[in-house]
């Protein structure tokens, strides 16, 4: 889950009261979050991926104020688009950015009178920005954020792709250091941020730039801001929020989330239009509210009982929404930092969470359905007793095999493989259980003999007729190791299985990799090969470190079930 280390004194200041560690934990239990490592100064806060709005102190305080009852509702309403003027506050997008990072979204925030940016707020913004980069931004690949001091900038802005040789740029310094102007080429050669992120913002001799109308570079998205024009400072009272990315939905959400640490502190919000050639998007849907409605019936369906209208209204207000009761339900104003709310069921959940899950009364209805296994499973399970009765221990082996093991027993090209294995030991999907069982024998090679193992489990084979191009089958396989564990033993077990199954298959010579040629047989019934058995080749045994003869049998239970006409 996404997590962040938050400042406890800052949370308390924003909340207007202190919470003991226990009170904090209880309040957070009513969100989808968890706290841990609580000290006087900090705590670790983890939250589900749908509530990234809670990952800053301001955002968490905004929500917890509703939980503890110190605030409710919301009066968020963004300002309108700026008036047309000579130097419009807008961003133009050059089509050159399209192949690399085509989307950009912006908003402006203004501090309330006499309360400009302070040091705590600044640090909070930087932490939150990084938390959003790491989560929704997919480490800046899908989207990233930049914050700029509007007072130093000359709108309109231009987002474009430029040749590196035309770029002169003073990188944003680390805290306490200074930097000097460098060329684009030097920056991409030397700067650590360029080393980390250059594939996202540079392609061959070109890089993404964000400039203002005076030609100042604000940043090289999504890599680094410039000093001064991309450097927030204590005392700033108008800030430009910008997000670039590969998906518009991500950029919108990033800007939306970033608004909350301002709005929660009383800052005002304005949209910034985005111009692409002659087309202008006012940006008002980025900062604006949406409305969602929920009917009493929709709510009752989710929670299983009817609630008083006023109770529901109150619960939603405690979730920090502006709510109006309308005939037939509730209309909720959804702010841009809550993209997780997309339909009525999401509102229903808000009500459930606000009221507390413990308030749900248990239902005591007995089942009106009869429980049962599938007939095939019932049939397969009968073989457990048969196998244990013959002295075979049930084994549990992984579906994925190392290629070396699979190759011993499987013809090349038969098995499906994993395109992105975590390790070669688990990279081939088994088509039979026998290889895994022989490997299990190898693990027991220092033990006493005879050793007898069996497994009833699933394998995957190619099947062009199936909707996934593959078929999952249930097999039964056994291995038998020790003196006298030759072909005859496996064949005798096969005969016994045939008798308990109630079929009279014929045993015919066959071929199987990893098995002594001339000591392999298939058991055929109704024109199909229901089982195959044989004696493992000494070359394979030696390679696996097994010093006793091993015979094996593999029965296709799924096929058998089908042939018996019971499917």
């Amino acid at each position: 889950m996404p997590s962040s280390t938050l400042s406890r004194p800052l949370l308390h200041r924003l909340l207007g009261r202190s919470l003991s560690a226990e009170e904090l934990e209880q309040a957070v239990f009513r969100t989808k979050g968890e706290v841990s490592e609580v000290t006087e100064e900090t705590f670790r806060f983890e939250i589900t991926s749908d509530r990234l709005d809670l990952l800053s102190e301001s955002g968490l305080a905004f929500a917890l104020a509703g939980v503890i009852g110190s605030a409710e509702g919301s009066d968020y309403h963004p300002g309108g688009a700026p008036e047309p003027r000579e130097h419009p506050l807008e961003v133009s997008v050059d089509s050159s950015v399209a192949p690399l990072r085509k989307e950009i979204r912006m908003a402006i925030v203004h501090a309330p009178n006499g309360k400009p940016l302070d040091a705590d707020h600044l640090h909070e913004l930087i932490r939150y920005q990084e938390a959003l980069h790491a989560t929704l931004g997919a480490n800046r690949a899908r989207g990233s954020l930049g914050l700029y001091p509007l007072a130093h900038l000359a709108p309109p802005f231009q987002y474009a792709m430029e040749g590196l040789d035309g770029i002169r740029f003073t990188p944003l310094p680390d805290e306490g250091s200074t930097t000097t102007e460098v060329s684009g080429i030097e920056f991409f050669d030397r700067h650590p941020m360029a080393a980390a992120y250059s594939p996202l913002g540079r392609r061959r001799g070109m890089a993404l730039t964000l400039r203002d109308s005076a030609g100042h570079i604000l940043s090289l998205p999504p890599i680094l801001n410039a000093a001064r024009y991309g450097e927030l400072a204590v005392g700033d009272s108008a800030i430009l929020i910008e997000s670039t990315g590969t998906a518009d939905v991500t950029c919108r959400q990033l800007v939306g989330y970033m608004l909350l640490p301002f709005v929660a502190r009383g800052w005002r919000v304005n949209p910034v239009p985005v111009r692409r050639r002659s087309r202008v998007d006012t940006g008002s849907t980025v900062v604006g509210v949406r409305t969602l409605t929920m009917t009493p019936r929709q709510l009752a369906e989710v929670i299983g009982s009817r609630l008083e209208t006023t109770e529901v209204t109150h619960a939603l207000r405690r979730c920090r929404f502006h709510v109006t009761e309308a005939r037939g339900g509730w209309t909720v104003t959804v702010p841009p930092w809550r993209p997780d709310l997309i339909g009525p069921v999401d509102l229903a959940e808000e009500v459930v969470v606000a009221r507390g899950l413990a308030s749900l009364e248990p239902v005591g209805t007995p089942p009106q359905t009869a429980g049962h296994r599938t007939p095939a499973t019932r049939y397969f399970r009968k073989f457990l007793e048969v196998m244990v009765g013959m002295g075979y221990q049930e084994a549990h082996t992984p579906l994925l095999l190392p290629p070396t093991l699979s190759e011993h027993f499987t013809a090349a090209g038969t098995a499906l493989t994993i395109a992105n294995p975590a390790s070669q030991d688990f990279s081939v999907i088994r088509t039979a259980l026998t290889p895994g069982l022989v490997e299990a024998l190898a693990r027991n090679a220092s033990g006493s003999y005879p050793q007898r193992l069996f497994e009833i489990a699933e394998v995957v084979v190619k099947d062009p007729a199936a909707d996934t191009g593959t078929r999952t089958e249930t097999h039964l396989a056994l291995v038998d190791a020790g003196e006298g564990s030759g072909f005859a033993r496996a064949a005798a077990v096969g005969e016994h299985l045939a008798r308990v199954i109630g079929i009279t298959p014929v045993r015919e010579p066959a071929d199987a990799p990893g098995t002594i040629s001339g000591r392999v047989a298939e058991m055929r019934f109704a024109g199909e090969r229901v089982a195959i058995l044989g004696e493992v080749h000494p070359r394979v045994l030696t390679e696996l470190g097994i010093a006793e003869p091993v015979s094996w049998l593999e029965l296709n239970l799924s096929l058998l079930w089908k042939l018996k006409g019971q499917d």
């Binding site: 009513r30 989808k32 899950l357 429980g371 992984p398 992105n420 699933e458 909707d467 191009g469």
Partner: protein, 498 residues
């Protein structure tokens, strides 16, 4: 009772005792002196002597010796040089940063750590941003180098502490030998032995029984305290048995079994479940992509309905459900094949068949995630998936069901907390209290979103959950390491408690 003792002797024991009694007084024989195949193999001789000694009929004079010899690793190290020598040489020209020193010395990580440790201990290495030689190496070389060379030349004894150091480093091993010289005891000399042909019978064979030879024979008593061979008992697998027992609870609560394939299209594994196509759990870091087969085109009607809900469009015949995830739905992603990452696709396939409400379905099946394997994580795990659908089914039913399940499983009260899953809303996580681990997450679930149900044609609410039964089983079976569930060690499996 001398007669009883005489009767208890097997044929080989009698012959060995006779041989020892024929020795002149004061002379002794070693084990190998008594070997006389085919009957008196080394194993038979050893066993017989032990039994004769237990019966106090023979005496053994034991001498112990030990010898330190190079191991395979020791022999391989000789030509290459010890790690400390190789690092020392790598630093001959100039100090180097650790990574470069390692590369220059050609040591692997483990050897490099040993080399640094050895040099540091001997005062030959200065640590810092660069590794640097310090101190003077004695002309004969490092002390372990000297000991290793002496052992290799077969110069016999090296000092015990030097030998011990080599043993600790796995370069040498000390073998202990006990040699025994045998002579008859006074009782052994005095015992009256049966004449040949009148020996007591050991193991009965069908020849004895069919021919009636047993009637005239004396059946030799056995040493009933003797050690016997280890028997590999056969059982069902403890973990799989536990899962099958857990299943009984669901059957009792009226659930029917559902099944589905292990290889799934992303359409069924994720898209139908309204999981955004760019969700992190769907990345190559978390899911296993399957190759080797060309997946068929998914059914166009289902694909169309799923694309509509993802993009926030209206599904034909439905009201608009929600704003969707925005962006463009990619049908190429829907077609990709994965190892199913949870068992919810089994529920999807069940719902696609349009069951008549009310319905309850479970599936205890295997799912796969691209986790790093450690004591608590494996790439393969079992999950108990379940759905419960019908008119009026709500979150209350789901929470009540968790309570019933937990009660039946013996895990007590369930505490429920809100959480988030893309395909359920509301989503909850049920915790149960474990005596030593505290509250552990056991029951994740929620109400399927309309965006999941409507494209499948399901009109009633459906509660769903996916319990991590592997974790529950580990707690119940006292298994600390998840890998143990796949170890297939016959002694552990056969001896699991009933």
């Amino acid at each position: 009772m001398p007669e009883e003792i005489a009767l208890s002797l097997s044929g080989p024991e009698t012959r060995i005792l006779e041989r020892l009694r024929s020795l002149p007084a004061g002379e002794t024989l070693a084990d190998q002196d008594l070997v006389a195949p085919p009957e008196l193999t080394p194993e038979v001789v050893r066993g017989s002597l032990e039994r004769l000694r237990a019966k106090k009929l023979v005496l053994a004079a034991e001498t112990h010796s030990s010898q330190t010899l190079l191991t395979d690793r020791g022999r391989e190290t000789l030509p290459k040089g010890l790690p400390e020598r190789r690092l020392w040489e790598a630093l001959a020209a100039q100090p180097l940063p650790a990574a470069e020193a390692r590369a220059a010395s050609g040591l692997d990580d483990a050897e490099f750590a040993v080399a640094v440790g050895q040099l540091k201990k001997g005062g030959f290495l200065q640590l810092g941003p660069r590794l640097e030689r310090t101190g003077a190496l004695p002309p004969e070389g490092f002390r372990d180098e000297v000991s290793l060379a002496s052992l290799a030349k077969g110069e016999g004894t090296i000092a015990p502490d030097a030998a011990e150091r080599l043993v600790r480093r796995g370069l040498a091993a000390t073998e202990h030998h006990t040699s025994r010289r045998w002579s008859p005891s006074p009782e052994g000399r005095a015992l009256t032995l049966a004449a040949a042909g009148q020996e007591a019978l050991g193991a009965l064979t069908s020849v004895h029984l069919r021919g009636g030879a047993w009637k005239d024979a004396v059946l030799r008593p056995y040493d009933v305290r003797a050690q016997v061979p280890y028997l590999n008992g056969a059982r069902t697998h403890a973990y799989l048995s536990w899962l099958r027992e857990f299943e009984e609870i669901l059957l009792g609560l009226g659930f029917e079994e559902g099944t589905g394939p292990l290889v799934e299209s992303e359409l069924i594994n994720s898209d139908v479940l309204f999981i955004p196509q760019h969700h992190p759990a769907r990345s190559a870091q978390d899911a296993f992509f399957v190759q080797g087969v060309d997946p068929p085109e998914p059914p166009a009607d289902l694909l169309g309905r799923v694309a509509a809900v993802h993009e926030g469009r209206t599904v034909p015949g439905e009201r608009k459900l929600s704003a969707g995830w925005g962006g463009k739905y990619d049908p190429a992603i829907a077609r990709r094949l994965v190892l199913r990452s949870h068992n919810t696709p089994v529920s999807v396939r069940y719902l696609l068949r349009n069951p008549t409400p009310p319905f309850r379905m479970y599936c205890i099946g295997t799912a796969f995630r691209r986790d790093a394997i450690d004591t608590r994580h494996h790439i393969q795990f079992e999950q108990c998936e379940g759905i419960y659908g019908g008119e009026g089914v709500s979150l209350r039913d789901l929470v009540s069901l968790f309570q019933q399940l937990s009660k039946a499983a013996g895990t007590g009260e369930v505490r429920v907390k809100p959480t988030y899953f893309p395909f359920t809303e509301p989503s909850v996580e049920g915790y149960v209290k474990h005596p030593s681990l505290g509250w552990i997450e056991v029951f994740p679930g929620g109400m399927f979103r309309p965006e999941v149900l409507r494209p499948l044609g399901v009109k009633v609410p459906v509660a769903a959950w996916g319990i991590g039964v592997m974790r529950l089983a580990m707690v119940a079976l006292g298994v600390q390491d998840i890998r143990e569930l796949f170890s297939n060690r016959l002694d552990t499996l056969g001896e699991s408690r009933v």
